[in-house]
């Protein structure tokens, strides 16, 4: 029966009018249902595509982290080179680990909480009422006074220090355990979890599996609630370190900025203490000797015994890999790119040997915090993120069996449904930040379990509007958001892309067949995306199905801070602006927003040579001059970086276009 033939009334054997009518209605219903299901499926596919875009770009960004890490190592190895020019520079860069902060009593007691402060006032020793107080206060958008923030941080560090690397937890038939994944500063999600599942208490145990901070706007509030709850119930609130509990990641992904913005006077102090508190966070939790809960994943060489033993607080940051010293030093000298001698004794950075982890230990921790499970068997370097590895189901079995474990619960990856089960039920991912990429992008979830290992999954989605918007609107939002950032990616590689297109376009027609266009896009951008399906959003296509490859760049360009600046220079600066931001923030140890011209030049020179960027130093100098950012020999680098932003020509048009919203 064709669903399209509304007029076809069958073979004409006598059917009453009523039968004919209902048959007509039946066919009509079928048509509508068929159409609707097709439409709905296409919406869901578009949602998927958008998520794929967000994810690829997120991981590609994280890959940038590794480059940066290599850069720091590179700088360190060539210390003497820099040393001659600016002895202060690198010492300051890496001297951050040598904080000699004053005695806590001394410092905290000197910060007064004025009478005019109407925010929450914590009472030490903390009790349940303080948890409640904080939750209510944060719901009212109040900010906790720096005095209390610092006191909580000091106290938390003190207690965390006593915890082992892995907390062993037991469940019982009457005592369920709740496991939450990444929160990333999304306070509303935490409130929703507490609303559905109750506040932490002696009878309501929680495990928070890392990545509490960065990206969202309320990282400090989440941290305060979690730390205060931990201090009140140290045996029933477990915190695992995530890859974002790392001061270097915070520099790039927003937490540092949030703190400096909310705490203008004491922000620096808070950051200082926080660096340290992070390193004392446990690596993982083991439930009933059966379930391993860690943030990222494992590798084929994961050695739980070693991980139980290491001094976890020596893991300062994923970006500061241990440098070879003394006995390692001789071997590594040969690898040194520039023929200089390293003088380890003068390197005050990670300090002496005893203050670092060994390279092997460091890699073990990176694997735990950064790895992702995949369907392919074996263990491969995690090229998307640039750290940790991809581990297959065989690796999971091998490692779990080795330690007589039954399951791995981890987080680290955003999943559309908030959770995902893979590797034959042996690996579970739980992610608790709903709408992570964009409103409507994904659900959040948490797990409840008790002895007997039956996991129960609870999903939710925080919505801003009082009533949920229809699916097509939500998909439109995330789709346009994803396409937008993808286009920004494209513009940052514009020159390379055009070159690649033109190489294939012999006749200089400005057009390329779909296959060739898709190939170049994937190659140059390094993003594994369904280019053919995405093409209508990115380029115009002629009636023969050929791509007008220049059309992507018509409605978007990078704002040139100065007219005369060369496009390639602007593009490069735009592309590396996140990395540059981190570097500048590290140099600017007093967080003033200013660095000296000398430092600026030295940094640029090194950055230039390490990243093999072909831009002359004088061009950068020139640019800085023209932008007139030079304030008494200092560069306001935030201004510098802010100048490189992307202009979407259609932005103003879209605002006035009411469209389907």
């Amino acid at each position: 029966m064709s669903t399209h033939d509304l007029e076809d009334m069958g073979c004409g054997t006598s059917s009453s009018t009523k039968d004919r009518k209902s048959e007509k209605a039946l066919k009509a219903a079928l048509v509508i249902q068929n159409w609707y299901r097709g439409y709905s499926a296409r919406l869901k596919a578009r949602q998927r595509y958008a998520l794929t875009i967000f994810q690829s770009i997120e991981y590609a960004d994280e890959q940038g982290q590794l480059q940066l890490s290599n850069f720091f190592s590179f700088m360190l190895e060539n210390y003497t080179q820099i040393h001659k020019k600016d002895p202060e520079l690198v010492a300051r860069l890496f001297g951050s680990t040598l904080q000699d902060y004053k005695d806590r009593q001394d410092y905290v007691s000197r910060i007064d909480v004025p009478d005019s402060y109407h925010g929450p006032r914590l009472q030490f020793p903390l009790t349940f009422t303080d948890i409640d107080l904080l939750v209510e206060a944060f719901k009212q958008q109040q900010i906790l006074h720096a005095h209390y923030v610092l006191e909580v941080l000091f106290e938390t560090k003190k207690v965390l220090k006593q915890m082992p690397n892995f907390t062993h937890v037991k469940t019982s038939p009457s005592k369920e355990l709740t496991i939450c994944g990444d929160l990333h500063g999304k306070l509303d999600d935490l409130f929703l979890i507490f609303y559905k599942n109750g506040l932490p208490s002696g009878s309501n145990t929680y495990i928070f599996n890392g990545d509490f901070v960065d990206r969202g706007k309320h990282s400090i509030e989440i941290l305060m609630i979690l730390f205060v709850s931990f201090l009140v119930y140290p045996n029933d609130l477990h915190l695992n370190r995530g890859n974002h509990e790392d001061f270097m990641m915070n520099l790039r992904y927003g937490f540092t900025k949030e703190i400096l913005h909310k705490y203008k006077i004491h922000g620096k102090k808070i950051l200082q203490i926080l660096e340290d508190v992070y390193t004392w966070l446990p690596i993982g939790t083991i439930i009933d000797n059966e379930i391993l809960v860690i943030h990222g994943g494992i590798s084929e060489s994961t050695d739980l015994n070693l991980l139980h033993r290491i001094e976890r607080n020596k893991m300062k940051s994923v970006l500061m890999s241990p440098i070879p010293l003394d006995e390692d030093h001789d071997n590594d000298l040969k690898k040194n790119k520039i023929n200089t001698t390293i003088i380890p004794r003068e390197v005050k950075t990670n300090g002496s040997l005893s203050e670092q982890l060994t390279k092997h230990e460091w890699e073990q921790v990176i694997d735990i915090l950064w790895s992702d499970p995949r369907g392919k068997r074996g263990c491969y370097p995690n090229t998307s993120r640039g750290g940790g590895c991809y581990f297959g189901p065989d690796i999971t079995s091998k490692v779990l069996n080795k330690y007589q474990l039954k399951m791995l619960i981890r987080s680290h990856e955003c999943k559309p449904e908030g959770y995902e089960i893979c590797h034959d039920g042996k690996v579970v991912t739980v992610f608790s930040a709903s709408n992570y990429y964009e409103e409507g992008s994904n659900r959040g979830a948490y797990i409840k379990l008790c002895s007997g290992m039956n996991l129960r999954f609870f999903q939710y989605q925080v919505t801003k509007a009082t009533c949920l918007r229809p699916l097509y609107q939500r998909v439109n939002t995330i789709e346009s958001s994803a396409i937008r950032i993808l286009k920004e990616r494209m513009i940052s590689r514009k020159t390379d892309l055009i070159r690649a297109f033109q190489l294939q376009d012999r006749s200089k027609s400005g057009k390329l067949p779909m296959g060739q266009w898709a190939f170049s896009m994937e190659n140059i951008l390094g993003l594994n995306l369904p280019w053919r399906s995405l093409s209508p959003h990115l380029v115009t296509i002629d009636k023969n199905g050929n791509i007008n490859y220049m059309s992507s760049f018509e409605d978007i360009h990078i704002q040139k801070p100065v007219k005369e600046a060369q496009s390639t220079l602007i593009e490069t600066l735009y592309r590396y602006r996140s990395d540059l931001q981190i570097i500048f923030n590290v140099i600017d140890s007093d967080h003033s927003g200013l660095i000296s011209m000398e430092e600026f030049r030295a940094m640029w020179k090194l950055f230039n040579s390490h990243y093999s960027i072909h831009i002359d130093d004088f061009q950068i100098d020139d640019l800085a001059e023209r932008m007139d950012l030079n304030k008494d020999g200092s560069i306001d680098f935030n201004e510098f970086l802010k100048a490189f932003y992307v202009v979407h020509k259609l932005d103003n048009v879209n605002k006035s276009d009411s469209k389907l919203a």
Partner: protein
Amino acid sequence: MADDKEREGTELVVAEFHKKIKDAFEVFDHEANNTVDVREIGTIIRSLGCCPSEGELHDLILEVEEEEPTGYIRFEKFLPVMTKVLLEKRYRPIPEDILLRAFEVLDPSKRGFLTKEELIKYMTEEGEPFSQEEMEEMLSAAIDPESNSIRYKDYIAMMVVDDG
């Protein structure tokens, strides 16, 4: 000569279909091991522009499933079947005017709208009935909040613009 050219043309078309199908499949291949959950096959097929009915979809799934159904569909089995579907232009989508007529059939007194109750009744009791989730989803976009009815002409116009 003409035959060769035609064959070459078809080969190119097939090659492009293969890539398109692969792209769509991969987006749902969460574990990157060339399989997708059978429950997502409908979405994949429809995202490629086809509109099979539930019955037709069920038959397609039988074609691509393993001898012993595992709950997963492998790409190697999906590709040839889907390529044929695209080449044969099967399950073409419903044209807008047919869709409008379908609504009009359900609105014999030509009011220009359907009440919420009427739509629910037809969609959940006739044809290939909607699940509750599908019904809620459709209502959330179709209902005109002021009149609490579905002004189907406006609804269709809105959806068609949006559907890529």
